[in-house]
Amino acid sequence: MNFTLFDLKIVEYSFFITAILVIMIGLYGALVKKSLIKVVIGLSIFDSGINLLLISIGYITSGTAPIFSPALVKDMPLTLENIKKLSEGMVDPVPQALVLTAIVIGFGVTAVALSLVIRLYRHHQTLNIDEIKNLKW
C-alpha cells in the first residue's frame, strides 16, 4: 500500500485548519487588543486567513500551476483534446485570480486604516481604543 501523508485526514485538511486558525487569531487580535495598530494587524491577519482559505479551495491534489508553459506544450499540437488532458491536472485558476483581487483590496483597506490610526493618534494622543469614544449613544 502506498501510504502518503495525504491519506491522513488531519494533514489533508491542514490548509483549512490553518486558514481557520489564522482567521481566529486575526479576529482575536481585532476584537480584544487595545492598541489600534494591533487591531489593524488583527484585521490584516483575518484577511490573510480568508485569502488562504480561498486559495486552498482551488487546490487539486498534486495539481500543477495553471500555466501552459513552453515546457508543458512543447511537442504536442494545440488541439482541444490535448489541452483538455493537460488542464485536468491543473489547479483551479479562478480562486487564484480572485485572491489577487482580494489581496489588493485588503491592502487598500489596510492603508486607509493605518492612515486613520495616524489621524486618531494626532487627535487623541493615544492609541488605546477604549479611550477613543467621543461619539456614543
Partner: protein
C-alpha cells in the same frame, strides 16, 4: 442608442483618472467634470430606463464573454430604477456641494473624486450580475466612504471612520467567506448561474453562505446589531456625504441583501428573518433617535429606522410588498437627503451639531427651514407628501399578507419618529435663536439642490402615478427569478468557439 450600462462604470472611472490631470491644467474642472459625468449618467439612466420598461431587461456582457464565463451587467426595471435613483441623488448632491472646500484645491479634488466613486461604486453594486464583482464594488464604495467620513480634520471624524472601517472590513471578509463557500460548491460566480444551480448545493453550505451574506451585506444595509458605526459615520461626515450615505450607499447595501435573498437562494425563513430583523432595527434605532441631542445623529438613527421599515416591506415578499418597499426606498432617499442637506445648514456653526442650535432658524433661514420641515413631513409619512404613499402601500401590503400585529408595531414606532421630528420643527420655528449662533446662508447652488428635492417630494406626493408604473414593473422583475436567470444566461452570442 445613447450607450450601454457599462458606461455607468467606465465613464466615471475614466473621469476619476482624468481629474488629477485636468486639475493641473484648469482648476475649476475638478468641480465641473464630476457634474458633467453625473449628468451624462443621469440622461443615460433615464433613457435606458424608458427603453427597459418597454423592451425588457438589458443584459450587457463584458469582455466579450457570455455569462456565466464573463462578468455581466443587468439593467432590469428593478436595478435600473435603483441606479437611476442613485445617479439622480448623486447629481443633486453634486449641485449642492459644488462650492465645497472652495479655497482648498487639493481637498476639493479629493472630495470630488471620492464622491464620484462613491456613486459609481453604489451603481456598480446594483448593476452587476456577478457576486465577486459586487464585492469589488462594495469595496470601492466602502473605501470612498471611509475617506469621506474622515474628511473633516478637526472633529472626531477619524474615530467615526475607524469604527466604520473596522466593521466594514469584517463585512468584506464575511462576503469573501460566502463567496468561497459558493464557489467551492458550484464553481461559478455569476448570480444567475448560481440561482439556477442553487439546488445542487449541499444545504449546510447554502445556509452558511446565506448567513455570511446576511452578515456581510447586513453591515452595508445597516441592520440592527451591525449598525453601530452608522450614527457616527453619518454625523461626522460632511453634510452632502451624510446625504449620500442615506440616499445612495445604504440603498446599494439593501439592494445587495435583497438580491441575495430573493434571487440567489431559495432558503426558506429568510423573508421572516428580514421582517424580524427589520422590525428590531426600526424599533431600537427610533428609540435611540428620540433621545439624541445632536441633529445629525438623530437623522442617522432615523435613517436606520426607515431602512428597517424598508426591509420589513421587502420581507413581506409579495409584489405589493416590494412595490411598497421601493416606494419607501425612493421616499427615504429623497426625504432623508433633503434633511441632511438642509440640516447641515441649520447647524452649520459648530462641530457638535446640537439640535438646540436650530432654535429660531426659521426666521433667519426661511427657505432652508421650510425645506427641512418639508423633508421631515415627507419622512414621517404625512400626506400629501411622498412618504405617505410609501407608508400606505406598505401597510396595505402587510394587511394583505395578514400581518396585523406588525402593522401595529410599525405604526407605534412611527409615533416616536413623529415626535422627534416635530420637536425639531418646533424648535426651528418657535424658539428664540441662541445668541452665539450666526446663521449661515446657503449658497445658491445648495438652494437649487434642496429645492429640487423638495419639488420631487411634492410631485410624488401629489402624483404618485409618476413613478408607480415603473415601480410595479420593478417589483415584478425582482420577483420573477426565472426570467432573471433566463435573461442573463441566454444573452449574447458566445464569441469564441
Amino acid at each position: 442608442m445613447v450607450g450601454s450600462p457599462v458606461l455607468f462604470i467606465a465613464v466615471p472611472l475614466l473621469a476619476a483618472f482624468l481629474i488629477p490631470l485636468l486639475g493641473m491644467v484648469w482648476k475649476e474642472s475638478i468641480r465641473i467634470l464630476p457634474g458633467l459625468v453625473l449628468l451624462y449618467m443621469l440622461v443615460l439612466a433615464i433613457t435606458l430606463l424608458e427603453q427597459v420598461m418597454h423592451t425588457g431587461t438589458i443584459v450587457e456582457i463584458l469582455a466579450g464573454w457570455k455569462p456565466p464565463w464573463g462578468i455581466n451587467l443587468v439593467f432590469s426595471p428593478f436595478t435600473g430604477i435603483l441606479a437611476t435613483l442613485m445617479i439622480l441623488m448623486g447629481f443633486i448632491i453634486w449641485i449642492y456641494s459644488y462650492r465645497f472646500k472652495n479655497v482648498d484645491f487639493e481637498e476639493a479634488k479629493k472630495y470630488f473624486i471620492l464622491f464620484m466613486m462613491l456613486v459609481t461604486g453604489s451603481v456598480g453594486i446594483v448593476l452587476t450580475g456577478d457576486i465577486f464583482n459586487q464585492f469589488v464594488f462594495i469595496e470601492i464604495t466602502s473605501i470612498s466612504a471611509y475617506a469621506l467620513t474622515a474628511f473633516y480634520k478637526h472633529r472626531d471624524s477619524a474615530e467615526a471612520s475607524f469604527k466604520y472601517l473596522m466593521v466594514g472590513s469584517l463585512s468584506s471578509m464575511f462576503l469573501l467567506l460566502a463567496i468561497i463557500l459558493i464557489y467551492s460548491q458550484l464553481g461559478t460566480l455569476n448570480m444567475a448561474d448560481i440561482a439556477s444551480k442553487a439546488h445542487l448545493m449541499k444545504p449546510e453550505f447554502k445556509i452558511l453562505a446565506v448567513i455570511f451574506f446576511i452578515v456581510g451585506l447586513g453591515i452595508e444595509a445597516e441592520i440592527f446589531p451591525l449598525n453601530g458605526w452608522v450614527p457616527d459615520a453619518y454625523a461626522q461626515a460632511p453634510g452632502p456625504v451624510g446625504a449620500a450615505f442615506a440616499g445612495i450607499v445604504v440603498k446599494a447595501g439593501v439592494y445587495a441583501l435583497i438580491r441575495i435573498i430573493f434571487t440567489l437562494f431559495d432558503v426558506s425563513g429568510t423573508h421572516q428573518f428580514l421582517i424580524v430583523i427589520g422590525l428590531t432595527t426600526m424599533i431600537i434605532s427610533e428609540m435611540a433617535a428620540i433621545r439624541q441631542d445632536r441633529l445629525k445623529r438623530m437623522l442617522a438613527y432615523s435613517s436606520l429606522g426607515q431602512m428597517g421599515l424598508v426591509l420589513v416591506a421587502f420581507g413581506i415578499g409579495t409584489e405589493e410588498g416590494i412595490f411598497a418597499a421601493m416606494f419607501l426606498l425612493i421616499n427615504h432617499a429623497i426625504g432623508k437627503s433633503l434633511l441632511f442637506l438642509s440640516g447641515s445648514y441649520l447647524v452649520y456653526n459648530s462641530a457638535d451639531k446640537y439640535i438646540s442650535e436650530t432654535n429660531g432658524m426659521g426666521k433667519f433661514l426661511p427657505v432652508t427651514s421650510f425645506l427641512f420641515a418639508l423633508g421631515a413631513l415627507a419622512v414621517v409619512g404625512m400626506p400629501p407628501f411622498s412618504g405617505f404613499w410609501g407608508k400606505f402601500f406598505m401597510m396595505s401590503a402587510a394587511a394583505h399578507a395578514n400581518m396585523l400585529l406588525i402593522i401595529a408595531l410599525i405604526l407605534s414606532v412611527s409615533l416616536i419618529e413623529l415626535v422627534y421630528y416635530f420637536r425639531v420643527i418646533n424648535r426651528i420655528y418657535f424658539y428664540k435663536k441662541e445668541s452665539h449662533i450666526t446663521p449661515k446662508k446657503p449658497t445658491v447652488n445648495a438652494v437649487i439642490a434642496m429645492a429640487t428635492l423638495g419639488v420631487i417630494i411634492l410631485i410624488i406626493g401629489f402624483y404618485p402615478d409618476l413613478i408607480s408604473g415603473y415601480l410595479h414593473q420593478a417589483s415584478q422583475a425582482l420577483l420573477d427569478k426565472g426570467k432573471y436567470i433566463q435573461d442573463v444566461l441566454s444573452t449574447g452570442q458566445l464569441l469564441t468557439h
